[in-house]
Amino acid sequence: MARAKRLCAALLLAGTLAGCATSGGNPADPLEPLNRAVFRFNDAVDGAVIKPVAKGYRSVVPGILRTGISNFFSNLEDVWISVNDVLQGKFQRGFEDFTRVLFNSTFGIAGVFDFASDLGLQKHNEDFGQTLGWWGVGSGAYLVLPILGPSTVRDGFGLVLDTQADLVFRIDGVPVHNTLYATRGISNRANLLDASSVIEQAALDKYTFVREAWLQRRRNLVHDGDPPREREEPDDEPTK
């Protein structure tokens, strides 16, 4: 709980700072100088430690086993996902996601096999930040959290609850707990190796590229893949 309180305090502080900081570029990112510093730090840690370990993991552990590990953690997540479905009034989805947990935990042997997807029960993506967004809470200032990466004030608060509800977090016994945390982190990073190589190639400025992509992604997730259309070409005129 102490950790949760500290994170809350930091987020409140960030929110207050956001209120008085002068905006340079994107109005959604009033804390850009601070965020850039954290982003550089994260990038350095990633390049020095996390990415090399994830690459090693991908080259040493066979694909089938990696999928099993990824599925195991994904199944644990589905519990909290189904709770968030219900909190957003999406009872049908909540039922589906809970059924996923039941199927995969039993027939899928503790979630190692994702049987439910083969049966047509598609996995959904929900968390508490999205639940807040669904009920109309704006995302607030963009934040780059140390190690955890891109977020916003709203999603940061969501993350406090997500962490409390995290089943891995609930497991007693520090060594087991930490091993599971590390494995999940490496497994998630390994799944993103291809995506991050594309970003390296695509971005002129990696910071702004990741920020824009992240904000669009969250907006899309809050609206379950169907966000209201934005005007795409301001001041556009037909050209020949």
Binding site: N71, D194, A202, L204, T208, D235
Partner: protein, 209 residues
């Protein structure tokens, strides 16, 4: 001499006309191009091994003709498009195209066995703008990634003007970068940055070269 032209050669002249009148439906077009490219990728060991040059050639011949890079650049530039002279606009569109092709070739060289599903097209016959929606199932992840192609009808058939991956628009993601470059260094500064980025060696498979 004119008599020696074979009769069937006349049909060759008619084909482009027929094509202009009856463009291939947008979803059919996306599906057929994707299937063709995927079939080549599955056979090509060089691209699988990370040969981005070869992937870029594949994109240039099979995919580029179906994209409207001018419009993509206009969207990414937003209101700054008017600040650029026609000459600058031409160079910008060319450099942006190169960057997108190189990015796409990096993505293609990462390609492994993936299953692609297409959702039914939600469009009226008279529509001139549609989104073709697809889902890619990746191994190792149970959640499919949505890939949407935003397309417009032109006299030369349907053209893609944006690609959205998981709801993230490839084109508008550049908007802030472009705007801040222009704010700090002007349109020519942006052109220089794009050109410099395009001169960098391509990244090999899986990350930093």
């Amino acid at each position: 001499m004119a008599m020696k032209i074979p009769f069937y050669a006349l049909f060759a002249l008619l084909i482009p006309l027929a094509h202009a009148q009856q463009p291939v439906a947008p979803d059919v077009l996306v599906k057929s191009i994707t299937e063709e490219v995927v079939a080549i990728l599955k056979q090509d060991k060089d691209i699988q091994a990370g040969d981005t040059k070869k992937a870029a050639d594949l994109i240039e011949t099979k995919i580029v003709p179906h994209f409207n890079f001018n419009r993509m650049t206009r969207i990414a530039m937003g209101r700054n498009w008017r600040l650029a002279s026609p000459e600058q606009q031409k160079v910008l569109a060319e450099e942006f195209k190169t960057l997108l092709v190189r990015t796409y070739s990096t993505a293609l060289s990462n390609y492994r066995d993936q299953q692609i599903d297409y959702k039914p097209l939600r469009a009226k016959p008279e529509d001139t703008e549609v989104s073709v929606r697809s889902e890619v199932k990746q191994s190792g992840s149970s959640q499919p990634v949505a890939i949407d192609y935003e397309m417009e009808k032109t006299p030369n058939g349907w053209k893609v003007y944006d690609v959205k991956v998981g709801g993230v628009s490839l084109v508008t993601t550049y908007r802030d970068t472009f705007a801040s470059e222009i704010r700090e260094r002007g349109v020519d500064g942006l052109i220089k940055s794009l050109a410099a980025k395009n001169r960098q060696p391509e990244r090999s498979k899986g990350g930093k070269a």
